[in-house]
């Protein structure tokens, strides 16, 4: 069947907004949502800033029409997914085939942690209801049931590139004629497990993160959910609306260097970016904006920057990391940043890389640090590079 594959709907919830319009507003106003922990109960509450969605579980559940006892990841996922479907005008009674391909890394871990507090002392203790949705796939299943999607569902989990992989999987299935619509993206809630896990790696910044800054000290963790409704031509006709953009290229490569660190040359990053360009039939000079993976860690930013130098130099597109706004939303990050990339195309905006004071000395380029408006943004590359060397780059293009 092949393409094009259109982006017909967007939905998102992050620490900078509970929906698409408030996210866009915060991006436009340069308002970061990273700050002191409010809902997650951890001894690190006072010293590790995080990008928490500004809602309790009860508030999220009420908005989603779900039980507040469900894992927070499921609530975030449901809200963002619902918004994308509504935004697209998708009708669940349609005979066209819809798939739900969602990503997460923590599953129901926020509930499992509570369970283990009791279970680890006594194997007969702990509420079983807290672990029913522990598995990543169980969270996807419960959200799919809530949305009324039955035809196809899947869950991807490749650390920080998870939802980027979910996005191209949906694209691939539509092009192969297996689906007419693919609701793709991901969600991850903050948990003590991930917070402490990242803390053991000593890559968390105790201050607000500064991606691509010479004096960066690490990342801030965030949480959120984001989805895109991809549609075939037939699907788009049924929705009868103008698409935001289309998926024009992607590639997945493995760095194969270390379980958590990126190779200094950024091999995986380079291969993913180059592969995406090749698939899109585009040159580096065609890119108007790169939404960087840009976590703010010493390692990622130098590896990613090195790969960018190799591929794009000497003519660099505008680029920025929006993790300075949202923190690193892990399994959701690929999709969160995909939504921001599409907004950049739709509104002709380039978002600034907040808090960048001193550009990295290694590179002749620097990310954008002011708002650029009324730009001609035709092609955007979005990078997601994760643990396990899983690297993915996506390219979105104006239609």
């Amino acid at each position: 069947m092949s393409g094009p594959v259109f982006i017909a709907g967007l939905g998102i919830i992050t620490c900078i907004g509970n929906n698409l319009s408030t996210n866009l507003q915060s991006l436009d106003e340069g308002k970061s949502g990273i700050g002191k922990m409010q809902w997650l109960q951890s001894i690190h509450q006072g010293d590790l800033p995080v990008g928490e969605v500004k809602c309790s579980n009860a508030e999220l559940a009420a908005a989603a029409g779900l039980s507040p006892k469900l894992p927070r990841t499921a609530l975030l996922s449901a809200l963002a997914a619902q918004e994308a479907l509504l935004d697209a005008g998708w009708d669940k009674t349609s005979v066209l085939r819809t798939g739900f391909i969602s990503a997460n890394t923590v599953g129901g871990m926020d509930k499992t942690e509570k369970f283990f507090e009791l279970f680890s002392k006594d194997p007969a203790a702990g509420k079983l209801a807290d672990v029913v949705y522990h598995e990543c796939g169980a969270v996807t299943g419960l959200v799919a049931a809530h949305l009324g999607i039955r035809h196809f569902m899947s869950t991807v989990s490749t650390a920080c590139s998870s939802s980027a992989n979910a996005i191209f999987t949906g694209d691939r299935m539509i092009r192969a004629g297996l689906l007419d619509f693919a609701l793709v993206g991901g969600a991850d809630a903050l948990t003590r497990f991930t917070l402490n896990g990242f803390n053991t790696l000593m890559i968390l910044d105790k201050e607000l993160c500064r991606p691509f800054d010479e004096n960066r000290q690490g990342l801030n963790l965030g949480e959120g959910g984001a989805y895109l409704l991809l549609a075939s031509e037939k699907g788009l006709k049924q929705l009868n609306k103008k698409p935001y953009a289309c998926v024009s290229g992607y590639a997945n490569a493995n760095d194969a260097f270390h379980q958590t660190a990126s190779s200094p040359e950024g091999t995986g990053s380079f291969l993913a970016m180059k592969g995406a360009l090749d698939k899109a039939g585009k040159q580096p000079s065609d890119m108007d904006y790169i939404n960087l993976h840009g976590t703010g860690t010493l390692n990622n930013d130098i590896a990613e920057g090195t790969a960018i130098s190799r591929l794009f130099g000497p003519a660099y597109p505008k680029m920025s990391s929006t993790k300075a706004y949202t923190g690193h939303t892990l399994g959701a990050s690929g999709a969160v940043e995909a939504v921001y990339s599409v907004l950049a195309i739709q509104h002709g905006l380039i978002f600034p890389n907040l808090r960048l004071l001193t550009p990295m000395k290694e590179f002749p380029f620097r990310p954008v640090t002011i708002h650029l408006r009324n730009q001609r943004v035709q092609h955007v590359m979005s990078n997601s590079f994760g643990f396990g060397g899983n690297c993915t780059s996506l390219i979105f293009s104006a239609t």
């Binding site: 001894i43 598995e135 493995n254 379980q259 994760g386 060397g389």
Partner: protein, 341 residues
Amino acid sequence: MKIYIRSTGNISPQNSLNKDLFFSTRLKTLNNYFKCPEPDYASFVDSKMIRRMSRIVKMGIAAAMTCLRDAGIENPSAILTATAYGCLEDSSAFLRRMIEFEEKMLSPTAFIQSTHNTVGAQIALLLKSHSYNNTIVHSSFSFENALTETGLLLQEGLGPVLVGAVDEITDDRHSILSRFGLYRKSGKSEGNIAGEGASFFLMDSEPGNNPQAILKDVQTMYNPENAAVVQQSILDFLQFNGFNMDQMDLILTAHTGNQKLDEADDQLLKTIFQHNPCYPYKSLCGDYPTATGFALWFAALLLKVQKPPSWMEGYKFPMKNILIHNHTGNDHHSFLLISAC
């Protein structure tokens, strides 16, 4: 386009690394879980890498490397891993320590090895492979979805693809699932037996030197309204591929030993499966979400060797076509169709 299973590698509760032993001796369990006998991993990974690896990662690597060695391939074009539970041992270890030490003085190894993509990542690291790499974690559709992705990648010209399924049973997981009433109680013959395993396959649009079998098709079905819908879907699945029920020389069924869960399987035995030789594969590998990995390995082996294990009496050969059916809780159904080369 044909999808050839060029080679396989399997760690399971049976002697699956040694085919002669597998054919001569069937292993059973007196417990309500089935643990895999493990090989000497030193022949697969060097000691510097192996020291951090948990059991499931080692099992996955051993199965993957066996598969690649059998095909004589060092760098597949894609590596796909399916797992429903992920790396349980390391997840539990990190959780327990986090609770015990109240989030202080925690060490990183268990955390970094707990992410679901660890098996796929470690395979890539071992092979120094920059190839496409993905991990699918959708309950008992994980392996089936990975097979669907395999087919799509091969259609795009990417091949050969290394695709596998891994899931482990740990003390914590078994303890928790037991509390859900899932497993066979001591002294009783009724109930599931928990299983585990790592099954890898090298799939390609080219047969290679010594192909094992052909994967014809795979389909998943979520939450069917009733048994009749399941039956019709299976018939439609076969018809779509140009087959009917009579041509199935063997059906590998999803019986677990749990009467309630097996109702759906018993219905099929009474209806559309009634004229076909059937075998319950979970009696060999136990019940776990990616058990169809074991079933596919078993089916491919029978179609290649064309003789039954000594402990599998009354089955006619030659066999040309095998149908695998799986379901979990009657809401996740899947069908796989495999044919001899």
